[in-house]
Subunit: 222 residues, 2 copies
Amino acid sequence: MPPNHAFPEVEKQGVYDAIYKRRDVRGQFLPDPIPDEMLHKVLDAAHHAGSVGFMQPWSFVVVRSREVKQRVKNLFEQANEQAVKVFEGERRALYSRLKLEGILESPVNICVTCDPTRHGPHVLGRHTNRETDIYSTCCAIQNLWLAARAEGIGMGWVSIFDPKELQRVLVIPEYVIPVAYLCMGYVSEFLSQPELEAAGWLPRLPLKEVIFYEQWGKKDQQ
Amino acid sequence: MPPNHAFPEVEKQGVYDAIYKRRDVRGQFLPDPIPDEMLHKVLDAAHHAGSVGFMQPWSFVVVRSREVKQRVKNLFEQANEQAVKVFEGERRALYSRLKLEGILESPVNICVTCDPTRHGPHVLGRHTNRETDIYSTCCAIQNLWLAARAEGIGMGWVSIFDPKELQRVLVIPEYVIPVAYLCMGYVSEFLSQPELEAAGWLPRLPLKEVIFYEQWGKKDQQ
């Protein structure tokens, strides 16, 4: 047996609960503020993601102002008018019924950015793939999502924006990439199933459909 | 007070321990195999990441064959010969001393891919940013990393490859993106600090350096 570095069962349960009970929250936000100390606690968890060449390319723009949120909400509405048009018939009707963001209802919004220039042009491990800094930023976002879930805080990722317009509203420099716009707050409930799954938008794929062995397309281990 | 959906303290501790004690493992892998049941358990955790439009764009190519690993290792060595050249002097010497992968030593390698065509061309939430499917895939990778840590399994992300060559070796179709190549296995120890931090490659940024309020660059909340 290898040395046992596994967590005690109840701590493992915490990790799996965070993973399985995390939701992309849109409709259940409560107005109660998130205390600064709590916000820093979950942002510090995000900040401890691994990153390519330890570059820590992320920044967090915390938005609490009603006015800024309203400007962001307007961007969402503009972009969503276009987005709905790619769907037709029943699919469009279903799309239109879905709640896709909680920008104004959530007490805190956070734009997570990636600065590809941080620490200069040469980053260990980014030579062959320039996008690994964005990958690191997404890992930080997942840390944030899971830490927030453990603290009873819901988070929703809104991606229906023109990124250039979002940069303009938040005064983000052109060379910095706005990777995610997140809505955060305490919630009335965490739904038992992802909303798009419950609404019949798409089913959960069986795990075995997404695992291959030794090469793409090979479904058995022999 | 909002309704309390926070986890019990010991379960929260599990989440924070996974986040803070996770390491990008390169040099501490043990040859002990990871049982199938355990591998599926942590892959299922990855599979329960959120995804844009619930598209679940990821697949996992599990590599255990010594021969396939050796071919991937050769790709790393080719790419690394080029990568080292961007650094000069002391920095190059330090780079050359770093262990950057554990491809052969780890019992399981996993290539995590993103299929942008899964479920057709129109994905809810991807209209304004085509890359959100890759973002989702990275969130799945972070789930995998944290679940593995809780189980006492180390994971290292190797990004020094020509992605086209990696696709060729793993027979991954051209339209599918190989996002990450991961090495996994039980470990002799989890280091107390990230290796690049301990080696003096780059320091950890203070959290307050990466937080802004209401707009980019604004460091106070007033």
